[in-house]
């Protein structure tokens, strides 16, 4: 018998070895390949932006919890770390560091801790931070350094437009997709990640690799990413089929912009997505549709951030209408 008093508690007395901390660090691991690609593409800049975001997210979480809220500090649980990384992944490489810090403050202070911390936030913190910056500083947020192979210096960041930006501008000016095709990177380039855009949305390959890892580790289920990407593909496919000169083909839509990053890592945020599989599918469908609507008809070239935030707002509603079927709720029991 141990000298300490015996423990009494209600059942169950054993627990699986999965912890929320492990889930979070799995996500961090999954993001490593994409980070390496961004390092390769953007060099030092990628490192600066990511470090700034991660450090400021952790720091704000620590400071606010310790001195403002006076609650337990939870920076060890990995969620602020993910928020930092994903925020950075959603920013262009050349953005001034102070803006990254502001974005982190909004993400952690406004979107997460104001609601009581991990688990209670309605909206995806990293995306709130990102959209806040996008709306506040549209210029810096759409200044895309182009990929220069092995570019490791900060200075010669050349700005170029993203694929979606090119298409949007071009179509607005009456050009056709085929006339634009010269300036659009090829599907292969997009897949491997030699194009311009936010830090983390470079390589579809690296992102999918991490995503598959997460699915294999059962951190996320396939429902959200697959539905989001499928609905984007189907919807853009329909428009493309109707008028291929005005609407880009679905492959471009799926591979470009933040579609994959959003579908695998941001729409799947456990806290801000529905709990049931049925709910997840509805949620993801909404994201896909809104993304396409914004991309094709709205004023922003890219819409997945907004789409995720909008659907985040619907999560409580989805959760209360798409409940699991209760056992034994069949009206009439069948006896032979």
């Amino acid at each position: 018998m141990s000298d300490q008093p015996i423990i009494v508690s209600a059942s169950p007395h054993v627990h699986s070895d999965r912890t929320s901390k492990k889930l979070m660090y799995d996500v961090v691991i999954a993001l490593v390949p994409a980070f390496l690609v961004s390092l390769y593409v953007f060099g030092f800049n990628a490192l600066i932006v990511t470090t700034a975001a991660v450090i400021s997210c952790l720091l704000f979480e620590y400071l606010i919890q310790k001195y403002l809220m006076k609650t337990e500090v939870t920076i060890g649980d990995g969620s602020a770390l993910i928020t930092g990384i994903l925020l950075a992944f959603n920013l262009p490489a050349g953005i001034p560091v102070w803006m990254v810090v502001v974005g982190s403050l909004v993400a952690i202070g406004v979107a997460k801790l104001s609601f009581g911390g991990i688990g209670y936030n309605i909206f995806n913190p990293a995306l709130v931070g990102r959209v806040f910056l996008l709306v506040s500083f549209p210029v810096q947020m759409t200044l895309w350094p182009t990929a220069v192979e092995n570019n490791t210096s900060i200075v010669d960041a050349v700005t170029g437009a993203t694929t979606l930006g090119l298409i949007k501008e071009g179509v607005q000016f009456g050009e056709t997709i085929s006339s634009l095709s010269a300036s659009i990177p090829s599907a292969q380039e997009m897949f491997l990640g030699i194009t311009s855009g936010s830090l983390g949305e470079m390589s579809a390959l690296a992102l999918i690799l991490g995503g598959v890892f997460l699915i294999a580790r059962k951190v996320i289920s396939w429902h959200i990413p697959v539905t989001v990407l499928a609905s984007i593909a189907v919807m853009t496919g329909v428009f493309w089929w109707i008028d291929p000169e005005h609407y880009a083909n679905p492959l471009i839509h799926v591979l470009s912009g933040g579609a994959i990053l959003g579908a695998f890592y941001m729409a799947t945020d456990l806290v801000t997505s529905p709990v049931t599989k049925k709910g997840m599918v509805i949620f993801a469908l909404g994201i896909g549709v809104i993304t396409v609507v914004i991309r094709l008809f709205g004023s922003y070239p890219e819409g997945i951030s907004f789409a995720i935030l909008i659907m985040n707002a619907f999560v409580p509603l989805i959760n209360s209408y798409f409940k699991p079927r209760r056992f034994g709720s069949r009206i009439k029991a069948k006896i032979m």
Binding site: F137, P138, V139, T142
Partner: protein, 198 residues
């Protein structure tokens, strides 16, 4: 407080009296402010004219010429200005629907040779902090003294000479288009205005 019982009579009477008094007051105030209101509306135009036109000594407002232009809903107004007996220039309204939030309406003052003297934004609904910067000195400065026949009224991005507002290319395009429209009208009507007075 003692509540007053509601009866048909007192309900009708009270509402009748209240509205009666309200009607009287409002009618009266309206009468009082009718003129100042009109004056305020005119003043706005007059002020705008003063800003965009070079020095003049006629009253351009009554001399206004309204022309229909295919591309815009409202008719375009041309305010000719004279100094001494010479043609000093004209202020022309221009509009574009292609602003970020729709209509952008300007008043462009031209010198007789077609050079832009100054521009004033009459109406716009652009996003504060973005599109609204078109009213800023820094932006407007680039148009002054430019002759649209040589200065391409297009955003740099589209191959023109206009330096776009940061983050507000759309607004800039609309602005440029409105200016271009005013210029086109001015050019087509310049001679008739000149003649009209001479």
């Amino acid at each position: 407080m003692k509540k007053k019982e509601s009866t048909l009579i007192n309900m009708v009477v009270v509402l009748f009296v209240t509205t009666l008094v309200a009607g009287l007051t409002l009618g009266y105030v309206n009468d009082l402010t009718l003129e100042p209101k009109a004056r305020a509306r005119l003043a706005k135009k007059a002020n705008a004219l003063k800003t965009v036109l070079p020095a003049f000594d006629n009253d351009p407002v009554p001399a206004v010429i309204r022309v229909k232009s295919g591309s815009s809903r409202d008719s375009i107004e041309i305010y000719p200005a004279f100094r001494g007996n010479g043609f000093a220039g004209a202020a022309v309204t221009g509009a574009s629907e292609k602003g970020y939030s729709g209509l952008v309406k300007l008043m462009v003052g031209f010198l007789p040779d077609g050079t832009i003297n100054n521009i004033e934004v009459l109406e716009q609904k652009e996003t504060p902090g973005l599109g609204t910067k078109m009213k800023g000195e820094k932006f407007l400065r680039q148009f002054r003294g430019k002759d649209p026949s040589s200065f391409n009224l297009k955003v740099e991005k589209d191959g023109g000479g206009v330096d776009a507002l940061a983050g507000a290319t759309i607004s800039t395009r609309a602005f440029s288009e409105a200016t271009q429209q005013a210029y086109d009208i001015f050019i087509t009507h310049r001679d008739s205005i000149n003649e009209q007075d001479n």
